[in-house]
Point group: C2
Chain length 133, copies 2
DNA sequence: AGCTTCAGATTACATCTGTAGTCGTATGCG
DNA sequence: CGCATACGACTACAGATGTAATCTGAAGCT
């Protein structure tokens, strides 16, 4: 399944669905975890059966977003994809798709929608100060 | 198809897929348009057949994101969903899902990924100044 | 009046996603 | 040693999505 010739794996990271992302969050928070552990962690927000969580884990392994290591009769799962990379990718996609790649309009939108608290604003100011050095 | 009793339509706006969004962009840029017009406008970036565009338009009509008005033997399509609403919704979803609803971390991420140009930064500063009044 | 043509409506179909259930088997308990 | 279990693997299946092709009927051209 190599795409053309020898050389390192060029396979672009496959997209992770929303349900899969919830599983990733559990693993990012703490890893490695067993399937049952993951089910326990996401069980609160999502009402998934253990089977569902297992399916999602398998798909994530297939997508090479998660690695397994055997632990006796079962697997321990740990993220391969880093949260920062995922978050960065998703953010970029959105900004590209909706704001022509510019971050300012995004911020403007959030501001207009009153999605910015005073704390947010202060934080952003601090960030900008840092950026300007 | 009213969901329970009388009263205004409570139907939550159905989600618009990425392909459908491309069609919406064409209509937001200029409307009303015929299906052929839309195909012409998106034809550049996406390599879609006219049939595909028509399918997407139908789905958007079904989702009540687009309205039709007859124009002789054909339809003119115009957006019902406003771009600002769509963009706001998508942005909010992302911020909620990935940043706990806080905008500052999103900005931080974009900054870290060097997704902020100097212009962006200047613009954001201006925005913040405005917000603080 | 008939034929061509263009439009929307309907149908198609492979993938991806959400959400599980079932199978086969290694294992630990008694 | 045999049986109940707990796992991962495989199978299932409906709805969404991407991407079209075909059907049907109205309109216009000759």
């Amino acid at each position: 399944m190599a795409e053309s010739e020898e050389g390192q794996d060029t396979t672009r990271p496959e997209r992770i669905s929303e349900a899969e992302h919830a599983v990733m969050e559990a693993l990012w928070e703490h890893s490695p975890l067993t399937a049952a552990d993951v089910a326990g962690k996401v069980g609160g927000s999502r009402d998934w059966s253990l089977a569902t969580v297992k399916t999602l884990l398998s798909r994530l392994v297939a997508k090479q977003a998660v690695a397994t290591e055997p632990d006796g009769r079962r697997f321990l799962y740990r993220p391969l994809l880093e949260r920062a990379d995922y978050v960065g990718g998703e953010s970029r996609r959105l900004v590209d798709r909706l704001f022509g790649g510019r971050a300012a309009p995004l911020l403007a939108h959030l501001a207009e929608a009153e999605a910015l608290s005073d704390d947010d604003i202060a934080e952003i100011e601090a960030l900008l100060r840092e950026l300007k050095q």
